[in-house]
Symmetry: C2
Subunit: 443 residues, 2 copies
């Protein structure tokens, strides 16, 4: 009998899972991979984990007990891997069984009759003792440009008369990113060096970027890939996605503007991309599916291969997003980070499903663990701009922080924190945790 | 005692290895991975192999005998893998030992006294019985734009007054390619569908490309990577490269021109990229190292991070390249393929070492098995244009083939064949074999 694991009435015996404002109630159960920090030991491996409240449940440890008995061997094996790839490639039915089992093991109402309580408690670790890893072996990382507000804001800076290029409303613009330099949350970000254009025809210099920026993005991990030469139809597209995470696509704007013609951004992005530790499954996001962005009536219809009835009806996700900055001065003074902007994933011009359909429309094969990021998620409001390039109009209008400091771009020591969560009446809050990184001076 | 494995006087007892015009004399010994086609069996695995004449020597089979005794366990283990990654990450000394051993086992002068002749013969398979695989697990694929002749020819088509962008002579322009759709030679290439621009402001259509093209490129495989945040200095850059292969970066020009602003080519390239089976090591290419391309005196000097004394002196490679096309009519008539162009790797504006130094200059980490392709290798002559876009001026001047057929772009059934080889007096010919693919109609 299927269990509604999103039922807002469910409660966990892990008390922090129903603390106010927690990202990880029992309705969420996002997956991640972490290294356990055991003092005075060096543990090389990593565990597949599930977040619950402020704890992380090690599925590797659980799979060594009887607590997962009855699940397929394939499911149990996936719990013992050091990436989520095997888990992401499980069948929908296998994933449902695993989710229901984990939910049952953590559910308050079953705690008295639960046979594996000791095993589950032994597999629970404080999240603060876990060092997050990039959750999947990412074969290819693709970055889209799905916010029309971002594309317009950026376009205005470079082409005031013609901010949006003619292809934008037809093509879910994207480009290949660099997979090797995707790093987990909390990894320090070295200020990169690169070529900076010289003034009026003089030679460029090679120097640390003076325009270091973040980009607030969401990433979708591919669960099931598609075969080489086999496009994915739009209304099957979302079935290929496993879950979402937060992505900070760090960018060096001066390097970017000099290098990007004619083949696009390269070293201005490839120095680092940070992903959040926890992958929130589409199952957990089910209550927050919404219709696709409603385009202005004068906009053209999507071409048929991008226009799916189901995708239009519930291909969007109502995920609230925030960017905060914590400067060294705030840190020293014990002040809270400063909120730079808020936006929402539902305002994207293209849905994640449209990204999959477009990406595969030429026969390109996606593989389990591939990461499709949205591009900067900006909204229609001026308070919803997802990068400093937009907020400060390329440094022309510095943003003033609460403590009187100002920023054109990021300075050394600044920590950027991305947050994401879903909230609505009648549903449990589903959060993404944090994606953070601190800028270190150039070497 | 070190052996000069490039000595042109060396001969193999494998007779085809000194047939006139062979790509694979004993001085070459390129590595590859192949599946052995054994009739009436289904063999799932793949063998690391070395090409010698028209044969392929299975190192997996050899490693199961005493023929590799005395070599490190790490070396023998690398020979048993199903990709070249472990082999590519061996130390210089380990690779030298392996190369010397393979050379010794195949050398004519040692055949009488050689203890492992039977084992070696049992590990030799006709290349015609081996199905080539992509030789490495390619984590990231980067494609450069290193031919100034290509950049200029293409630029002229789109910007007649300003063909070369201001960054070109400073920045080794590159972009991230798609790793998942890299396929081995002989894989059929489905004509991709995609968005084609509508006439003057009308909506685009979604249809099979009408401008399918090849690009003649060379790829360099990374042997030893670099750490995240640790740039590779220019004069150490070449030490990070393991060897070269041929690359056909199939391109759909109509999809490309509509989609590429502002983030660069995406679906116009990601449908397929073909690599040749054999990776020719830099050791084998040692006799063909030449000085970097001599720039016109009016060109600016490279910035210091790209300007290495050793790289300038011998960072180029004298590799002759050819593209041929075989149309269905030629095939039916038993005619030889038609030579479309010839060029040379030494004419690239940027050396492979400069590509490595540039790529890592922002701290981006390269990993073993990564593929860095050159971009289309065109030369200064009109006969040295490495793609149809250039040869036919975007279809305006169709190329007439020997049999009277003509081509603006590729047609269904056309086979494109890339070849590469090194030749000079006093050295053995070092060849790359072929990189081929046949266009199939869109589905």
């Amino acid at each position: 009998m299927a269990v509604n694991t999103c039922d807002p009435a469910l409660r966990s015996w892990v008390k922090s899972a129903h603390a106010a404002g927690t990202d990880f109630p029992i309705q969420n159960l996002p997956y991640g991979v972490g290294r356990v920090l055991v003092p005075e030991t060096t543990q090389a491996g990593a565990d597949v984990m599930v977040a619950i409240g402020d704890q992380a449940l090690s599925l590797r440890r659980l799979a060594a007990t009887a607590a997962l008995d009855g699940l397929d061997d394939g499911v149990k094996q996936a719990c013992r891997e050091i990436t989520l790839n095997a888990l992401m490639s499980l069948s929908k039915e296998q994933l449902r069984m695993l989710r229901e089992r984990i939910s049952a093991l953590l559910e308050e109402a079953r705690v008295e009759t639960m046979p594996h309580r000791a095993a589950v408690e032994a597999a629970l670790l404080p999240q603060s003792s876990v060092f997050p890893m990039v959750p999947a072996a990412i074969g290819d990382y693709t970055d889209f440009y799905a916010s029309i507000f971002h594309a317009t804001n950026v376009g205005k800076l470079f082409r005031p008369d013609n901010p949006l290029l003619p292809n934008y409303k037809y093509v879910p613009i994207g480009y290949h990113g660099r997979a090797s330099s995707i790093v987990p949350s909390a990894t320090s970000i070295l200020r990169p060096k690169g070529q900076l254009a010289g003034a009026q025809g003089t030679a460029p210099s090679f120097a640390p970027t003076r325009m270091l920026d973040y980009e607030l993005e969401v990433g979708a991990f591919v669960g099931h890939g598609n075969g080489f030469g086999h496009p994915v139809p739009i209304d099957e597209a979302r079935e290929h996605l496993f879950g979402l995470c937060l992505v900070n696509d760090w960018s060096a704007r001066d390097i970017q503007s000099w290098e990007y013609q004619p083949l696009g951004p390269f070293l201005s992005k490839s120095f680092a991309t940070t992903v959040s530790p926890w992958v929130v499954t589409l199952d957990a996001l089910e209550p927050f599916r919404v219709s696709a962005y409603e385009r202005p009536s004068e906009d053209p219809a999507s071409l048929p291969y991008l226009n799916g009835e189901d995708d239009q009806r519930r291909g969007g996700f109502d995920v609230r997003l925030e960017v905060l900055v914590e400067t060294p001065r705030m840190r020293d003074a014990g002040e809270a980070p400063f909120l730079l902007s808020r936006s929402n994933l539902r305002e994207l011009y293209w849905t994640p499903g449209q990204m999959v359909a477009h990406h595969t429309s030429n026969g390109c094969n996606l593989r389990t663990g591939d990461l499709l990021a949205t591009g900067t998620v900006s909204g229609s409001e001026t308070t919803a701009r997802g990068c400093l390039l937009e907020i400060t109009a390329r440094g022309a209008q510095p943003v003033v922080l609460r403590n009187g400091e100002s920023r054109k771009f990021l300075e050394d020591g600044d920590t950027v924190i991305l947050r994401g969560y879903c909230e609505r009446a009648g549903a449990a809050r589903i959060g993404f945790g944090e994606c953070r990184g601190t800028v270190e001076p150039a070497r």
